[in-house]
């Protein structure tokens, strides 16, 4: 019997107007998006290789250790998955005078956007009258007048609806992938296909979740016009409002000093406060020394001092002790303040991390955020990739400076007086930064809680739909 109802649902949906519109919309939007993103990716690849050759030219002419700090930086190249998912790389560069403000005004479309916004809306449009609409048509009464159990009806409705929703999505995705595959410049690896498979699985869960939500809302209303209102309200809150509010709520609950405040505090600690401490320590140490060596109390000019040092070994010892004490006092001040600055920066970074984590957690109230994190983490364009990139670029950084120290040692071995800081060096054998995406295993591990959460939301909505339908007055 269930199969009959599933078939009925599928047929009913396929023949409906909304199915045709959904199919048309997705068949246009997804391929156009992939086409445009693929071209964008190829452009970025060209730009990256052009820049690389510029850097090589630069290093040939100006390979001084003093001149490469701003040039030899680890950079994340475009990855083949950018043909489908842009992720955080769409972020705006605020560190340069010339920035590109266009994405701030309108965030750019990608597959994650299509699924997260369009597919969730479509799911609710399909589901809103699943129960209340049939009641209005009077078919619900007729169905249940036969020996049909209510659990079977609701199960079949969710299953049939989700299947019909996925058909247009998968069709459009296949057309989009054809666009990518046709391009000779894009080289998708096995890991990319694996990630895409998992993202598709996430999409299935995400769409089913919204479909179950729609059926639940439909089973709470007796008129389909009211159930669409509630569905849209819930959709607006879950999809459009909660994610946007979450970082602001997190910054309210777990405030962090702004980066500007932290830098100002660090400057103050390293500047005026260090000077005060240095002077204080110097004065203290000098007091002890003056008690021991009265000669230090005499105000002597530098020349007199030198003469005295030559003449009198005791005075010499006194002055040397004084120089050492002063140096020691300032070293101490630098150390103490340096530790303080580190502590301030560390504390700020920890707070920032805690705030980010909180924002992430709050935003996960919305399935949209869960799906977005899942998809960007799997495609290595998200938060996890940022941390991963930080780690591998750190490793490369250390490697490069080990290499640099070796080069400097070689130079100094040849000529101890060399100005290695400003001497041109052949750096063609330097360790190069090569970005390799994180192995799929790690990404999957990161995305696992997302899958569980999507499944959990789906189950909760399904149970709610089930319970509401059992109690539904079909008359």
């Amino acid at each position: 019997m269930i199969r009959t109802i599933v078939r009925k649902e599928i047929l009913g949906n396929i023949l409906s107007f909304r199915f045709v519109v959904t199919l048309a919309l997705l068949l246009v939007v997804v391929p156009v998006t992939t086409f445009v993103l693929t071209n964008d990716y190829l452009k970025k690849v060209a730009d990256a290789s052009l820049r690389q050759s510029e850097i090589e030219t630069y290093l040939r002419s100006y390979g001084h250790f003093n001149r490469i700090g701003n040039i030899l930086k680890a950079a994340e190249p475009p990855i083949p998955f950018n043909t489908l998912v842009r992720g955080l790389s769409a972020d705006v560069n605020m560190a340069e005078f010339d920035d590109d403000p266009l994405p701030v005004m309108f965030p750019l479309v990608d597959l994650v956007f299509v699924v997260a916004i369009l597919m969730s809306l479509v799911a609710l449009i399909f589901a809103y009258d699943a129960v209340s609409g049939e009641k209005e048509d009077g078919t619900l009464k007729l169905m249940l007048a036969n020996g049909l159990a209510r659990p079977k009806v609701v199960l079949a409705k969710v299953a049939g609806g989700a299947v019909t929703l996925l058909v247009p999505f998968l069709m459009s995705l296949i057309v989009g992938l054809l666009v990518i595959l046709v391009h000779p410049g894009v080289d998708w690896k096995a890991a990319d296909w694996g990630a895409l498979g998992l993202i598709t699985l996430g999409t299935v869960l995400y769409v089913m979740l919204f479909y179950a939500l729609g059926v639940f809302i439909s089973a709470r209303h007796h008129a389909s016009s009211a159930s669409i209102m509630t569905s849209l309200l819930v959709w607006v809150l879950l999809v459009l409002v909660v994610p946007s509010l979450s970082p602001y709520i997190a910054s309210f609950l777990s405030p962090t000093p702004s980066r500007i405040q932290v830098e100002r505090e660090a400057e103050r600690l390293g500047d005026t406060e260090r000077d005060d401490l240095g002077r204080k320590l110097e004065a203290e140490r000098m007091r002890e020394l003056v008690a021991r060596y009265p000669v230090l109390n005499e105000r002597l000019s530098e020349a007199d001092q030198k003469r005295l040092m030559v003449r009198d070994p005791a005075a010499r010892a006194a002055f040397e002790a004084a120089t050492k004490a002063k140096q020691g006092a300032w070293d101490e001040a630098n150390r103490v303040q340096g530790d303080k600055i580190d502590a301030v920066r560390r504390a700020a970074a920890q707070k920032e991390e805690a705030q980010t984590e909180l924002a992430r957690t709050i935003s996960m109230v919305s399935p949209l955020s869960v799906f977005t994190y899942l998809a960007t983490d799997l495609s290595s364009t998200g938060l996890r990739d940022e941390a991963y990139f930080g780690r591998i670029s750190g490793v490369w950084d250390r490697e490069f400076w080990d290499y640099a120290r070796k080069k400097i040692a070689d130079l100094q071995a040849k000529d101890p007086a060399t100005d290695w800081w400003n001497t041109a060096i052949d750096m063609s054998d330097r360790p190069r930064f090569e970005y390799r995406e994180e192995a799929l295993g790690g990404r999957v591990q990161a995305a696992l809680p997302g899958f569980v959460l999507l499944l959990g939301y789906g189950l909760v909505f399904f149970v709610l739909a089930y319970v509401s339908f059992l109690k539904y007055d079909v008359r």
Partner: protein
């Protein structure tokens, strides 16, 4: 007669479930958005007081714009601190927070609420205006009397517009009045005027979506199919078209990446510094060369970038939603045009500082001119595009209304 229909529509709305859900939603969202964005603005103001240059420092900073509470736009980019050194402009204090979750989702400012939520609300008010009354059979009865079709349509439009616009304006004005009580937030009279214009623009925007809703309602027989069509059209207009347009424009205009540009600058600077170390020429001439070459790079980038901006703006304008965003951000002074003007002003300031530096014998001065940015006057903002965008939005709205009239005149009410 029209007036009776207006009254009937308003009363029907007041008694409906939809009205309360929708107005409550809009009110809560507007209030939340004001609260959050005010806090954000105050935090940025506190940062500004830290990075504000001391007299004589060659630093260009613009205070955060209070209108960014309503339309944040590019204000964060414009409130960065730029230091003018001997080799050019560098960003001293940029990003406010390292919380990357901010980068994932759009800013929930007033503009976002209007653009996304209010447009949907307007469609929900319009989608069943004709088809529902037909389904209910009341349309026949109305037309059986002496009521003309145009009176019905105008009455419906006006009644729904009022029942949406009045509560919305009340909530927003109340919110703005509460903001006005905050001693940290001061609006100049010019900014109050701009805010008024933004609110007026919002009404035009609502009217556009309401007309669209009525048009589709008159084109369909059933309210449910009208809603489905409208939701798809809405998703296209609000999300897909404006976001895709920018990407499409990028396919057509080649703009070097910002990174490539900064690497080129680095090259110029290193070349000149090394020449100087080798003893070729004096510092002043090298600084002049660096500045001139950087200016040329900048000018080249600007030309290409402006072409990209104009093209993507024009493509995006296919959706009047984009026009709305452009007009609102430009009026607020946080739009792309304003940011461009600001950048040019910083460029001019750089040249003034450089002139001062070169005029002093040791190429240093402790007395650089102060930087002050004056926002483009409202008249120029309007002439430079905001008026066009508003007009385009209004024309689209009127067009849809006129079309719905033509369709409704032929509508089979049985």
């Amino acid at each position: 007669m029209t007036w009776t229909i207006v009254r009937k529509e308003i009363l029907a709305n007041l008694l409906s479930y939809k009205f309360y859900v929708v107005i409550l939603l809009a009110a809560v969202l507007v209030a939340t958005s004001f609260f959050i964005m005010t806090r954000d603005y105050k935090e940025r103001l506190a940062d500004y007081s830290l990075i504000r240059p001391k007299p004589g420092e060659p630093i260009a900073v613009n205070p955060p714009n209070p209108l960014s509470i309503f339309a944040k736009g590019l204000d964060e980019a414009m409130a960065r601190s730029f230091e003018v050194g001997p080799t050019g402009i560098s960003v001293r204090a940029g990003q406010k927070s390292g919380n990357t979750v901010f980068a994932f989702f759009p800013t929930p400012d007033f503009l976002y609420i209007v653009r996304v939520v209010l447009s949907l609300v307007a469609l929900l008010f319009g989608f069943d205006q004709v088809s529902r009354e037909k389904e209910a059979g009341t349309l026949r009865q109305m037309l059986a009397n002496q009521t003309s079709r145009s009176a019905i349509l105008i009455g419906k439009w006006a009644g729904n517009f009022l029942s949406l616009a009045v509560p919305f304006l009340l909530v927003t004005t109340l919110g703005i009045a509460v903001l006005g009580l905050d001693p940290d937030i001061r609006f100049s009279s010019d900014q109050v005027l701009r805010l008024g214009l933004i609110l007026a623009l919002t009404l035009v925007y609502i009217a556009f979506f309401l007309s669209l809703g009525i048009l589709v309602s008159a084109l369909t027989r059933r309210a449910s199919s009208s809603l489905v069509i409208l939701l798809f059209v809405w998703a296209l207009l609000v999300f897909v078209l404006p976001n895709l347009g920018t990407l499409v424009a990028r396919q057509m205009v080649d703009v070097p990446s910002v990174r490539a540009l900064s690497e080129k600058r680095q090259q110029v600077w290193t070349r000149e510094v090394l020449l100087r170390i080798r003893g070729v020429g004096d510092w002043a001439s090298h600084i002049k060369t660096i500045s001139a070459e950087n200016d040329a790079l900048e000018a080249d980038y600007r030309v290409k970038f402006d072409r990209l901006v104009n093209l993507s703006k024009n493509i995006n304008r296919i959706s009047p939603v984009a026009s709305f965003v452009y007009a609102a951000t430009e009026i607020a002074g946080t739009g792309i045009g304003e940011e461009g003007a600001y950048k040019s002003e910083v460029g001019r300031y750089k040249n003034a500082v450089l002139g001062k530096r070169l005029a002093s014998p040791d190429l240093k001065s402790s007395d650089y001119p102060a930087f002050l940015y004056r926002y483009r006057p409202l008249g120029r903002v309007l002439v430079r595009g905001a008026l066009f965008d508003t007009a385009w939005l209004a024309v689209c709205g009127i067009l849809f209304f006129a079309l719905s009239y033509f369709v409704f005149v032929r509508y089979d009410v049985r």
